[in-house]
Point group: C2
Chain length 239, copies 2
């Protein structure tokens, strides 16, 4: 505690997001401030402030005198969220087509040419968000709100529910082709086309994903998105 290295609140936010990603926090499960604070090794003050931020981003829900809980999305919630993603990314693709810099375009091309089969091709790479296809486009839009809404709020929310590019794995070839088409439209600075293609791409992924999800749920017994991937429950500390 000698040198000041950024606001503790932000580190707590990061730690909580990491904990969500790693499955250390379970959706719907109540947790007390004090327990969480001692787990993270911080005091209540900064923790509460961090929770308020995440609450505003709809990652946590609070009920007074009761506790904090990670939001638990239904399939319908996720579907609606993906609809929002669809139009926002459509707008991002349009803006990118209009505003992308040569440097960003080069990176985008390189990425979509060769990078697509690497792990980083995942839409929401855990620690390298700047390399995802969709992140690149959001950034290239040069629209501050679009980028923040997508990269910070929306992707964070999706990540909280283990929504990764699971659809990508199941239709990798189509997705790759769609990515290519989108990049081409952006390179041609054709905003209309870029938006249409991006929306179609997202729509395909959404429909595919929801269908698979519903089938999974019907075949098993859970309604939550929780058990899609792995989970554990180790606590972690910041710094």
């Amino acid at each position: 505690m000698s040198a000041y290295d950024g606001e503790l609140v932000d580190k707590i936010v990061d730690a909580l997001e990491g904990a969500i990603r790693n499955g250390e926090l379970l959706p719907g499960k109540r947790i007390s401030e004090l327990a969480l604070a001692s787990t993270l090794g911080v005091s209540r003050g900064p923790l509460r402030e961090a929770i308020r931020k995440l609450e505003a981003r709809r990652l946590f829900e609070r009920t007074a005198f009761h506790g904090i809980r990670l939001v638990d999305l239904s399939i319908e919630d996720l579907e609606q969220l993906l609809i929002v993603r669809e139009v926002l990314e459509g707008a991002a693709a349009r803006a990118a087509a209009e505003n992308i810099s040569d440097k960003d375009l080069k990176e985008l091309k390189r990425f979509s040419d060769e990078g697509v089969r690497r792990k980083q091709a995942l839409t929401f790479a855990p620690k390298t968000p700047q390399y995802g296809f969709h992140h690149l486009i959001a950034r290239a839009s040069k629209n501050r709100w679009l980028e923040e809404m997508l990269c910070k709020d929306l992707y964070g929310l999706l990540r909280a529910y283990r929504y990764s590019s699971i659809d990508f794995a199941h239709r990798a070839k189509e997705a790759r082709e769609e990515h290519h088409e989108i990049v081409k439209a952006i390179a041609q600075h054709d905003g209309d086309l870029a938006e249409v293609l991006m929306r179609k791409h997202n729509r395909n992924g959404r429909i595919n994903f929801i269908k698979r999800l519903k089938a999974d749920v019907a075949g098993e017994r859970e309604t939550s998105l929780r058990p899609i991937f792995r989970r554990n429950r180790v606590s972690r500390k910041p710094t």
Copy 2:
């Protein structure tokens, strides 16, 4: 302090939003926590939590050891924000066309038929947000995220910058007709058409507004959106 009537943090958030609306807080002006706390008559703890929430909604900006400030948008920022609004409301119109209930449709029709020339026709009526045309459609979308992003985050942000339906006043007839067309499309459950019309409507308003704004700025001396309407600086208390 005897009876518990809701979380203080939420009341502070409301109070701050009200202060923003009333021009009691000026964009860009730094203010200290302690001063704000004593003005509001609360302690630093809840105030900080409230600030964190508003920070997540991008209404406030903080710099460590320096202070809180209401964000100060440039014209470009506002233009980009209106682009986001455009696609989100387009999606809302589409969803509304697909999901609207008969009751909501009736209200929407009644509103667009007769209510449009009343004060409540303002897109962001200060105290009756549920009656605005765009609010009605956002609600009718039955999409939780869409409604919250629009009504809570985006409209709140626009309101902070005194962006009201100033464009509406300057093209009331066109806007009224556009509203009518949109309602008609929704009534016919034509999602495609509803989205196209809503986007066009917003686009018209945006272009008109930005043009006027730039002309205003060129003719005067301010770059901030602040002086568009009135302002004062009376402090206020919650409860």
